[in-house]
């Protein structure tokens, strides 16, 4: 901080009526023995001719003096601020200036206007130019004629769609979305096991199109992906289809405007799209997980751009977060290594028994109808379908029990060669009852629009569980 000039400092702008009200007083104060410095934010015509009146068009002085409202009057003694007031408060101005008659003919009080330093988009630019803020990430200079979005493509920073160029101002704004320090370490991101700081996540969140208020969710999603049981290295590197699917529960999902309703698994909601994409960009850019390199997916899945939604929650069915041990008011992310959306069309079942059988039959197709205990499954139940169960007083747990019972399958039909198909379970399963999913391998959530007797199966990675990926949850904190 530069030393302050002793005496009085006034910060003003011409477009502020209160500043115009006090302009004649500035001319009076300039006559006094006390030194006076005037910083004018917008127009040199203000207090024109008053000695030591400076146009602060870069707003540097206003920023350093932390002006929030104009006019601001500050008294400085021995280089230190001793008192300030803002707006026009006659008694304050008289006391600070030491002139008991100052503005005696003016009204006693007039509020001021906002300082130009606080106008939208300005504060971050000033913080970068004049503040103490220092990013630890490398600053990449882009040539004058280069298009910033194209520059991001050329450097390999994108998933194939344009990203928002991560300028310093945007990253600073993003970091305001968390109370965590920029150098706070989240862990090592696979596959390169590269260290990941809050700042690096914020840069990728900017690129993904996140608003600052999404950042805590993104941070929780990244931390969840780094939990060992999730097996992010394998999820990325596998030849199979999976992507980390992010399911958000709790009040924060609603607060940031996430979609759990119409088209919940589809496009069009910024929070859903950008949060899921931010996680993918972290894996790509920080972890170095790029397709064709360590990402060896045979076909991949569109979810590798982004796959994120929130669960439709009410008191009628226990939420995924509560099932997984969190308090009802907690906001959480759950990651599931999943494939694409397989629709279940059942427009005729009106009893829970019939609909559960439909679900079970469709769930058999996960991986392959003749395989079992390989991939987990995420069953997304729509409002019209969940109504069938709720009206019959079936809880989510009751539905899961029924599905587990219905999905005890005859090994005879599933062993290699059965049905004339070479794929299948080892012959040792012949004669046995085989559960389709490993214990805990069937997750049920609710989402979707209110019209449509459809639900969906999202198959998990065929290496689900301890051998590959286990779903993980993390509370969203700051």
């Amino acid at each position: 901080m530069h030393p302050l000039p002793d005496g009085l400092i006034i910060i003003a702008k011409r477009e502020c009526p209160t500043c115009m009200l006090v302009e004649p007083l500035i001319r009076q104060l300039a006559q006094d023995a006390t030194p006076l410095t005037v910083y004018v934010q917008d127009d040199p015509a203000y207090a024109a001719g008053v000695p030591n009146t400076l146009l602060d068009d870069t707003l540097e002085h206003s920023y350093r003096l932390k002006a929030e409202i104009v006019p601001t009057l500050i008294r400085v003694e021995a280089g230190c601020e001793v008192e300030r007031t803002y707006g026009w408060h006659r008694a304050d101005w008289q006391r600070i200036t030491g002139r008991a008659d100052l503005g005696a003919d003016l009204p006693p009080l007039r509020p001021g206007c906002g300082s130009k330093t606080l106008e939208p988009g300005i504060a971050e630019e000033l913080a970068i130019r004049f503040g103490d803020n220092k990013f630890s990430s490398r600053r990449v200079e882009i040539g004058e004629g280069e298009d910033l979005m194209e520059a991001c493509f050329e450097r390999g920073w994108t998933d194939g769609l344009p990203v928002v160029p991560p300028t310093e101002a945007r990253v600073l704004r993003m970091l305001a979305g968390t109370t965590r320090a920029p150098d706070d370490m989240l862990g090592l991101v696979p596959p390169d096991l590269a260290p990941c700081t809050v700042e690096k996540v914020a840069i990728n969140a900017v690129m993904a199109g996140c608003k600052p208020e999404y950042l805590p969710i993104v941070l929780a999603a990244v931390e969840a992906a780094l939990i060992d049981e999730f097996g992010m290295h394998g999820v990325l590197c596998t030849t199979m289809f999976c992507a980390p699917i992010v399911i958000v529960n709790g009040p924060l999902a609603k607060a940031v405007g996430m979609n759990s309703g119409v088209n919940a698994l589809g496009q069009g909601n910024r929070a859903n799209a950008a949060i899921g994409r931010a996680l993918q960009l972290v894996i790509r850019n920080i972890g170095g997980g790029r397709p064709g390199e360590l990402d060896r997916a045979t076909l991949g899945t569109p979810g590798k751009y982004s796959f994120c939604f929130s669960e439709a929650q009410d008191s009628e069915w226990e939420s995924l977060a509560v099932e997984r041990g969190f308090a009802p008011q907690a906001s959480t992310v759950t990651l599931f290594a999943g494939e694409g959306v397989q629709g279940i069309v059942d427009q005729k079942s009106r009893t829970p028994e019939s609909l559960a059988r439909s679900f079970a039959l469709c769930l058999r197709a996960v991986d392959h109808p003749k395989l079992a205990m390989a991939g987990d499954a995420l069953l997304v139940v729509s409002p019209e379908h969940s109504r069938v169960f709720i009206d019959a007083a079936w809880s989510k747990a009751r539905l899961r029990e029924e599905l587990e019972r219905l999905l005890l399958l005859p090994g005879d039909e599933m062993v290699v060669g059965a049905g004339g198909i070479a794929e299948g379970l080892p012959l040792s399963f012949a004669g046995a009852s085989v559960p389709k999913f490993r214990p805990g391998g069937l997750i049920i959530v609710r989402a979707g629009g209110t019209a449509g007797l459809f639900s969906a199966v999202i198959a998990g990675w065929a290496a689900s569980g301890p051998v590959g990926s286990t779903p993980v949850s993390k509370e969203i904190t700051a």
């Binding site: 630019e125 970068i128 130019r129 990013f135 990430s137 490398r138 600053r139 990449v140 200079e141 882009i142 040539g143 004058e144 910033l148 520059a151 991001c152 050329e154 450097r155 920073w157 160029p165 991560p166 300028t167 310093e168 101002a169 990253v171 991101v189 390169d192 590269a194 260290p195 700042e199 690096k200 840069i203 990728n204 690129m207 960009l281 850019n285 920080i286 972890g287 170095g288």
Partner: protein, 94 residues
Amino acid sequence: MNLSSILLDPTAERAPAVRALQARPETLSGLTVGILDISKARGNVFLDRIAEQLAARGVGVKRYRKPTFTRVAPITLKQQIAAECNVLIEGLAD
């Protein structure tokens, strides 16, 4: 400095900030060399000689020509060159 021309690196910064040039082949043997004439006067004199020398060494050569030196090469020409050649020589006369 224009602040918008600075971006913050989103990667783990394991690669240099300045992008490296494409690795140069150690030998031209077995490669196809494209020769792009940008249509500037007498550029062809120089490029014809290069083509002769390469052909004499048994290197495969393909010739291309931009419609005008005043504009960047048409996309289709760039795609054709990328599909047909391993290496490209572009000659600028004057």
